[in-house]
Structures are given as C-alpha cells and as structure tokens.
C-alpha cells in the first residue's frame, strides 16, 4: 500500500533531453516501469537504456537491465499504445506548460513536472486548464514522487530511501533528501516522499498530500518541509489541527533569510499574512506539530513526534 505510485505505475517520459535521459536511466535502474517516451517527430523510434541496477532493494530486479523504450509523437498515442498511467515532464520551461496540458488532455491521472523556471502566467493557465479534469499535477520545480523499492519518478537519489512508516512532503527538493536520509538512518523509513515544488503556482498542495497520508494505512506519521513565502504552511497547520490523526513533524527553511529581498510584497496582502518562518512555525506548533530547529534535526523531530503519539 502506498500513495500515488507503486509497482502498478506505468510511466512515460516527456522531454528526453540530457537531464531527462540521465534520470530516466536512474528510474529504470530503481525498478520503475518506464513504458514509453514522447518525442514529437521521432515517433516509431526507440531509446535503449542499459546498465546496472542501483541495488535499492527492488524485489525481482536483475542486477543488469536492458530496456528499449518506444517513442511516440504525441502523449495520446503513447497512452493508447502503452496504457501509461503516469508521466514525468523534463521539457524545457518555455514548452513545459504545453506538455502538462497535453498530458492532461490525454487523461494521464498523474503528471509529475520536474522542470524549473516555468513562467508564472503559464502555470496560471495550466491550473485553470486542469480544473475539473481527473488528473493530479505534482510540481512543477519539484524532485518528484517515490515509493521506496517500488517506483521512483523524478530526480531524487534512490539509494537514500528505505521502505518504512513515514510519509514525506516538501516544497524543497534538496531538503526532502535530507529528511529522507535521516529517516533511513534512524530506522523509521518512508512510505513515500512527495516534492510539491517551490513555485508560487503548483498542482498539489501540502493539504492534498497530508490527506493522502492520513488515509494511507501504511503511513504512521508525516514530516512536512516548508519554507518562507506564501501561506501554504499556515493552511496546512489549520488542516492538521482539524483533521490529522497521525503525528506530524516539520521544518521551515528561511528563519534567517534577509527581509526585503522578496518580490511582489502586495501578493502577501491578499492571503492576509506575510509568510515569515516565525509565523509558520508558530502556526504548526499550535497545531501540535513537532518543529525541528535545524534541518539536521528533522529525523529526531519525527522520532519525537512518534514517541509523543506512543508509536516509537
């Protein structure tokens, strides 16, 4: 049991450039079932990936792999031919919004967008386009989604993950890895790790992922990693106080960030808050969340939250 992705996930790749190919190779090595790639104008060809698995504990994977990934001109063709139920997008920023909408139009239920630097107005249009469609967008500007030993979609290093009891959700890529590694080292492990991305307009919120973890029987606790700006953490805190039945730990980056360097100050007015780290930490603590002082203490904060709930 997991959230979002597992061994039934059939993944296609949009944007098989240098970075896309590198990380697709790593995903295959981790055991992810990559069934196709969308390369407009190169449909009918295939791309071969071969190498050694990264021994991440994926059951039934041979040490060596050799995979021929077929290419398609359009997402719709790829879905029809492969039965893909997830896509990962590495398409460059000017064309990424179109790639997301093409995937949504083709009805792919999970769209993970890694691309960093998509114009905000493009994402405003994407969000509107996705309304009412039965699809979930994760990202953009995120590391992706992983269920340890089952499926890795994105750019996170697979070997730091260990199947376990904790759900991870984060706005920051590299801080996700920090949390994951500490949870592996202290034995709690992860049920999944989801990067929701650092952009102001994204597809999946903290609350969306908290709900998934709350309903997932395998997940016993959750760690969320936020940062300054916006009010997503405050909203998550309010949701946790009302609904969360599992222990939660958190870390907020940016306690010492210099003021006055943010842009569009009027943007914070609408949401009725300034989005400082102190505001977010206070809101989370009031909701019963254990907040780590430094990123090196995320694992121990989770352990503390589990102990308070009688689960460790």
């Amino acid at each position: 049991m997991s959230i979002l992705v597992d061994t039934n996930t059939r993944l296609i790749v949009q944007g098989l450039g240098e970075a896309g190919a590198f990380h697709t190779d790593k995903s295959i090595a981790y055991g992810t079932n990559v069934v196709g790639a969308v390369r407009p104008g190169k449909g009918g060809q295939s791309v071969r990936f071969e190498g050694e698995t990264d021994r991440s504990g994926v059951p039934g994977r041979p040490d060596r792999y050799q995979v021929d990934v077929p290419s398609f001109d359009t997402v719709r063709e790829a879905v029809e031919a492969t039965g893909a139920n997830a896509t990962v997008i590495f398409v460059p920023p000017p064309f990424a919004a179109d790639a997301i909408m093409e995937a949504a139009e083709a009805g792919i239920p999970l769209i993970v967008t890694i691309t960093e630097g998509i114009p905000i107005q493009d994402m405003v249009k994407v969000k509107r386009y996705l309304e009412g469609k039965p699809v979930r967008l994760v990202g953009p500007n995120c590391p992706g989604v992983i269920t340890p030993h089952q499926c890795k979609i994105g750019i996170m290093p697979g070997y730091i993950h260990q199947a376990g009891r904790i759900g991870v959700v984060s706005r920051s890529g590299t801080l996700t890895y920090e949390a994951v590694k500490q949870l592996t080292d202290n034995g709690l492990g992860q049920t999944a790790a989801v990067g929701i991305g650092g952009d102001p307009v994204n597809g999946t919120s903290f609350i969306d992922v908290l709900k998934l973890y709350n309903d997932d029987p395998a997940t016993e606790g959750v760690i969320m990693i936020g940062e300054i700006g916006g009010t997503a953490e405050e909203e998550a805190a309010a949701w946790i106080a009302e609904n969360m039945t599992k222990p939660v730990a958190a870390f907020i980056a940016g306690t010492t960030a210099p003021p006055g360097k943010r842009m569009g100050h009027a943007g914070a007015i609408i949401s009725g808050g300034m989005g400082t780290a102190a505001d977010k930490i206070a809101a989370l603590q009031a909701a019963g969340v254990v907040v780590a002082d430094t990123p090196s203490d995320m694992g121990s904060a989770m352990l503390e939250a589990m102990k308070r709930a009688g689960k460790a």
């Binding site: 706005r171 920051s172 890895y177 590694k181 010492t256 569009g264 943007g267 007015i269 009725g272 990123p295």
Partner: protein, 410 residues
C-alpha cells in the same frame, strides 16, 4: 526584474493606458529642454521633476549631498514667471539631483545614485486612488486590487482598514471582464466620465499585466483629474524573470546599474545569489537547502556571507563562477559547500570546485559536505585533487567545522 517609473509609463502608454506627458533626462540640459514641450502640450505651467531609481518612497526621500532637496519636486515657478522661470528652477534642481545619492525608506542608509530624471506635466488632482495587479498564490490566479486610499502603502490599508481593499479575480480563460472593471470603478466611487475612464484603465492594466508577464504592477497613486481623466501618476512594475524570453522589449529596459554587480554576474551563470553581511561563504544546491544552510550556520554561532543556490542544472563552469564570486568578497573568512545531489551531480560540483581553486587559488578554509547522486565520484575527485579540504558528515557538522575554522563563535 524591475524597471524605472518612466519605462513603466512608456509600456502603459503603448497599451492605451493614460499617463501624464513626460520626458526622461540623463543630463541637466536634457531636463531643461524637456520643460517647454511638456508645458506647451499639457497647457499647464506646473511640471514635476522625479528621481528615477528602483526604490519607492522617493517623495519623502532626501539627497545626501543636498538634504533640503526631496527626491520628487513640484515646480510651480512657471505660474508667475512663465516657462523661463520653470526652466531656471528645473536647471537648479537637475544640477543638484543628477549624480547625487537619494536615501529613501526603501534604499537603506547607503542610498542610490540618481542617474535619470523624469520631467512630467503637473496634474490637477481631484482624488488619489490605488490600483494593482498581483498573483494570489492561494488560488493560482491574478487579482486586481483597488482602494480609495491612494498614496498610502497598501500594507497599511490592509492592516488598518481591510474593508477598503476591493478585489476582482481574473479568470485566465477569459481575462478581466467588463463588468468586473465596472464594479471596481463603482466601488472606487467613480461616476460619469471618470467611471468610464476608470473602468477602461482597469481593464487595460489587467491586460498589460498578463500580457507582459509582470510579477507585480502597482499604480499608487492612480489619480482622477478635475476634468474626469483617470491617470497613472506613479507606476511600479516588476517582471517574471522566467518569462523574459518572450519579451525582448522589456528585457531591453533592464538597468544593470540599479542592481548589485555580483548578483548580476551570478544571474548570467544561472546562479541565484544574494550578498549578506557575514563571513562564511555558502555554495549550495537548492533554494530550500541554501536557506537552511544559512539558518544552520547562524544556529551554531556563525554569520553567512551570502545566499547562493547553484540550481539543478549547473555545469562545471557555473560552479567555478559561483566559487569565484564567493571568494571575491573580502569579508569571506571561510567557505562551506553543502550539496545534496539530485539533478545536480556531486562530480559536477567537485570538478567545478577543483577548477576554480586551480584558477583563483584558495586562501581561506574550505569545508565540503557532499551527498546524493554520484557522491562517490565527487568525493574521489576532491580527495585526489590534493586540495586542502575538510570533509563534513552532515550539514550541522559542516556548519560547526567552518565556524570553528574561521575563528569560532562570533
């Protein structure tokens, strides 16, 4: 990316938005020469001379060299002495303002040098209003905000009289609709010709904001004249840097002299860099980790010299550039490299660091913490380079080590 007021007004004019008649000047002679055509075209003997810098609060700001001169000056000499009197006064002002340092609440105590003036027609103001278009992160849509409290900071209005802020959300599928623009104009108490002009202004501004990919556009004050015209008396605009590729004309308006030289150089290499006041240089991948690295350095008693995110797709060349920018700061007494490789590979970082040290040398302690994609390869490159590098097991360990090596807790 920010632009000057005169540039913002130029863009508004191109989009059919009413702005006062004005001319930009970089010399005293240009400022004086601007007076006559403005007075003749506007029919108003009054002109305004405004400092052009990328910071607000200019009206209340003062010059370091001339504490009696504010950043914005209304010249009324022409009412009695004719256009020659206006020209004389503009000359006096321009001589004092150009090249001098203006300090406002937003520039910090060091102020900013004024290299451009904007000479503008005087306006018979009946009312001052507020108008802006910003992104509402909660809904993922653009919002037009308006208020009757023109001239006040919108933060103050939000804190004291939030009911005076009117909002209309823009549906990206259809844009701001006519009825929404009318509703805002009614909400602002505009009637007759002013209502019609106000609604047209709002709609055009919303179109500009979306069409030009602004981060924020703020008109404060938006003025209603005695004759019912609605005009932008001031205009602040900043743009989404990720969308500049499709706005060559806007990109051309960038004024590098208004930006920190190191930050500009960093941006050319795809690095996100912010100079700070401490002594420990930081080179990190990921904005969240970079912020958290600063937090951790402070937690263990040090002070970061910068925020630096090398980003996900950095090459060896980018990393080398980052290292050079950090070491150029004379305040830097030590460097902490903190990498958790995902899309960024540890060997890329390692090669960049080794190349940079070979080019510029290394005179301060260097602590490196590598983790993630290709970590073994990265560590091997560092180990075999013969560089004098201290390895750290995790972020806190690295922060402690660099603080110790740079003289301990401050």
């Amino acid at each position: 990316m920010k632009i000057h007021e005169y540039q913002a007004k130029e863009l508004m004019k191109q989009h059919g938005i009413a702005v006062p008649i004005g001319r930009v000047a970089t010399t005293v002679e240009e400022a004086v020469a601007a007076v006559r055509p403005i007075v003749e075209a506007s029919g108003n003997a009054v002109v305004v001379v405004k400092s052009q810098i990328h910071a607000g609060g200019r009206g209340k700001g003062r010059f370091v060299e001339h504490p009696d001169v504010p950043g914005v000056n209304v010249v009324t000499d022409g009412l009695k002495g004719g256009v020659e009197a206006t020209e004389r006064r503009v000359r006096e002002l321009a001589e004092k303002m150009l090249g001098s340092t203006l300090v406002t609440v937003q520039t910090g105590p060091e102020g900013k040098q004024v290299n451009r003036l904007y000479v503008e027609q005087g306006i018979d103001i009946e009312r001052e209003l507020y108008l802006s278009v910003v992104l509402d992160r909660a809904t993922g849509r653009n919002v037009v905000m308006a208020s009757t409290e023109g001239g006040m900071e919108i933060e103050e209005v939000a804190a004291e009289t939030p009911e005076k802020i009117l909002r209309e959300t823009i549906d990206p599928a259809v844009g701001l609709l006519d009825f929404q623009a009318r509703r805002l104009a009614f909400g602002l108490g505009l009637a007759g010709a002013a209502h019609k002009n106000g609604a047209r202004f709002v709609k055009a501004l919303a179109g500009l904001a979306v069409g030009l990919d602004t981060d924020m556009v703020e008109i404060n004050p938006l003025v209603v004249t005695k004759s019912g015209d609605v005009m932008a008396l001031d205009g602040k605009m900043s743009f989404d840097g990720n969308a500049l590729f499709r706005h060559g004309d806007v990109t051309g308006m960038r004024d590098l002299s208004e930006e920190d030289a190191a930050e500009v150089e960093a941006s050319e290499y795809g690095l996100s860099f912010i100079k700070l006041d401490g002594s420990i240089g930081c080179l990190v991948n990921g904005a969240g980790l970079a912020m958290a690295t600063m937090d951790t350095i402070k937690q263990v008693g040090g002070e970061p010299a910068n925020f630096l995110d090398v980003g996900g797709g950095a090459t060896t060349e980018n990393v080398t550039a980052a290292f050079k920018i950090i070491t150029r700061d004379p305040n830097v007494k030590g460097i902490f490299i903190n990498i958790f490789g995902g899309i960024m590979k540890c060997d890329t970082i390692a090669n960049g660091v080794v190349a940079a040290v070979q080019q510029v040398g290394l005179e301060v302690p260097l602590v490196v913490r590598l983790e993630g994609t290709n970590v073994e390869l990265g560590r091997k490159i560092i180990d075999e380079s013969g560089l004098n590098v201290v390895s750290a097991t995790d972020m806190k360990d690295g922060a402690r080590k660099i603080v110790e090596l740079t003289g301990g807790v401050q």
